[in-house]
Assembly symmetry: C2
Homo-oligomer: 333 residues x 2
């Protein structure tokens, strides 16, 4: 790792640029999966568009978060032996996985009410779990305690240039995979929560294929990124209400700065369209993705005119869900 630090270490305070994505892609080769791009002829006939799905639910730890976490660990302060974060979702598992790969200790502060499946994943990668009350304040103060006691280096889930650059490697792969298939897509759609993925995708695409329109897709019940983008000012207050649990976070500061420069639009989607998209994905592609991952296809359903006759790639962001959630969704609850 030390040979990289000398020439291109990103500070957590930097704004990332496209070159950081390309460097991340080189470093992550052989560490993360080059996930497949799939399509369904039946679904495309139904939609009147040519839709490809980038299968990040088949990524290490079952989510694109593996990319950002693994990339962040190439940019640690010298002498770091322990990393830490707070997470109720995929970032905690991703950081635990990446830390184990590099022989680093890892602590994940998790709210007591986090799903057992998520706790088991984090513990399974050998990280220490520190429980806390299920509030943002408790998560942050507990993490501060961990840092004070252990000297751990914090790797945040999205508002961090190393994370943004890592997530952007998805788009670099997509552009290359489409070219190998003989085309450049008209649109690339990524769900947006904290904005790590969308910012990274925007950076990569604006450098590699600026003719491709990058669209963020956000649940209307957690539309802070949409309002921030349209209003030109980051909205920091919201009360999220959506089945897409991975997208309930608020857009990060660096994420907003990158997104407003590199993304074409952020559209919202209804809960009904998220659920319809999810059942289409399960039924047509047989891919058991989580609700957040269906937000991109929901955008095709809700904004059909923008996609008709077009080629679009949609990022399926993750597939981590316990069976109770699967049962509730399949039963229509």
């Amino acid at each position: 790792m030390s040979e990289f630090l000398s020439d291109s270490a990103l500070s957590p305070l930097d704004l990332p640029v496209a070159a950081d994505v390309f460097t991340a892609a080189e470093r992550l080769t052989g560490i993360v999966h080059r996930t497949p791009l799939i399509h369904s002829s039946a679904l495309n006939a139904q939609l009147g568009a040519e839709i490809y799905f980038k299968c990040e639910h088949l990524q290490k730890v079952g989510a694109f978060k593996a990319r950002g976490a693994a990339n962040a660990l190439f940019h640690l302060p010298p002498g770091t032996t322990r990393v830490a974060t707070h997470s109720s979702g995929n970032h905690g598992a991703a950081l635990a996985w990446a830390a184990a790969l590099r022989g680093l200790r890892c602590t994940v502060v998790m709210p007591e009410n986090a799903p057992d499946a998520k706790k088991a994943a984090v513990a399974g990668y050998g990280a220490d779990i520190v429980p806390c009350a299920p509030t943002l304040a408790a998560r942050e103060s507990t993490l501060a305690d961990v840092v004070e006691k252990t000297g751990a280096h914090i790797v945040p889930p999205f508002d961090d240039p190393r994370i943004i650059a890592g997530q952007g490697t998805v788009a670099q792969e997509v552009i290359g995979q489409c070219r190998a298939l003989g085309f450049t897509p008209d649109l690339l759609v990524a769900p947006v929560g904290g904005g790590g993925l969308l910012a990274g995708v925007g950076l990569a695409v604006s450098a590699l294929a600026p003719q491709v329109k990058v669209l963020g897709a956000e649940p209307e019940g957690a539309d802070d990124a949409h309002r921030s983008f349209r209003g030109g000012k980051r909205v920091t207050e919201q009360t999220p209400d959506t089945i897409a649990d991975g997208l309930r976070t608020t857009l990060g500061e660096r994420n907003f700065a990158v997104i407003r420069e590199s993304v074409n639009d952020i559209v919202t989607v209804s809960e009904q369209n998220i659920v319809t998209a999810l059942s289409l994905l399960w039924g047509r592609t047989k891919q058991l993705v989580e609700p957040s991952a269906a937000t991109g296809l929901a955008a095709v359903l809700e904004h059909a005119a923008r996609f008709r006759g077009k080629r679009a790639v949609i990022v399926l962001t993750g597939g981590n869900m316990d069976l109770a959630a699967v049962a509730a969704i399949a039963a229509g609850n």
Copy 2:
């Protein structure tokens, strides 16, 4: 098509040989998908074996049945304009799909209580559906009526050399895909219902890679193939009781003849292990396969000593399930 008929048409009464599988594989190129082989590092660590899954749930019509149906249509009596079958499951959809591709009319006799999703699939491929009472006698007499009225040629679901040869192309692909990855598997496992898939796999493997052990996996609640294989005499009576709805059929005559010559063993699996295997497949591979498809992994769970330290390929046979079934299984019913 006529150029094929002159030199290698299979009569529905023949016993197929390995060369029929190889001919089928040539003809099916570009018609069916070469489905991917996937694996899960986490699952392999848990099982102490190196398991690869052949993704036939990603096949055309969502099941390996597309292979046999498409192959059968290369072996029709001259002048055939309509084909017919009776089916409550994937074979009806596969025949409807294959017939539409070749511009043939198709009639599928379906029991009135067949799931709406299956009826919609058959109708979606443009076939005529003739409803009947939900008994084998009613299915057969209704199909006989259809044949008398329309002159349709019957394509049976499994006890047919054209079907067996078509299903066997799965194994030819598997052996090639494993060689491309640098190995020959120790075992190849296929679920067994009527025995179309298992017979075809046995034929292909015994010719291409006889050192590979071919294993059938059958629910203990529908264990006629197991009893037939162990007893050396085909069992034709059973009262199936299993969640694996695709495996409730009784082993065919030609299927048994081929299987006893080319398959190493048929093992049974409990309902509990089918459900456990299904939840492992959903959770670890994110592939929404149907219960029948989980029977192969259930065999690894139930007969662990036969797989420990070995490389095995398991055929995931299909992924066609309505959401109500998904909900019931995920909820533990």
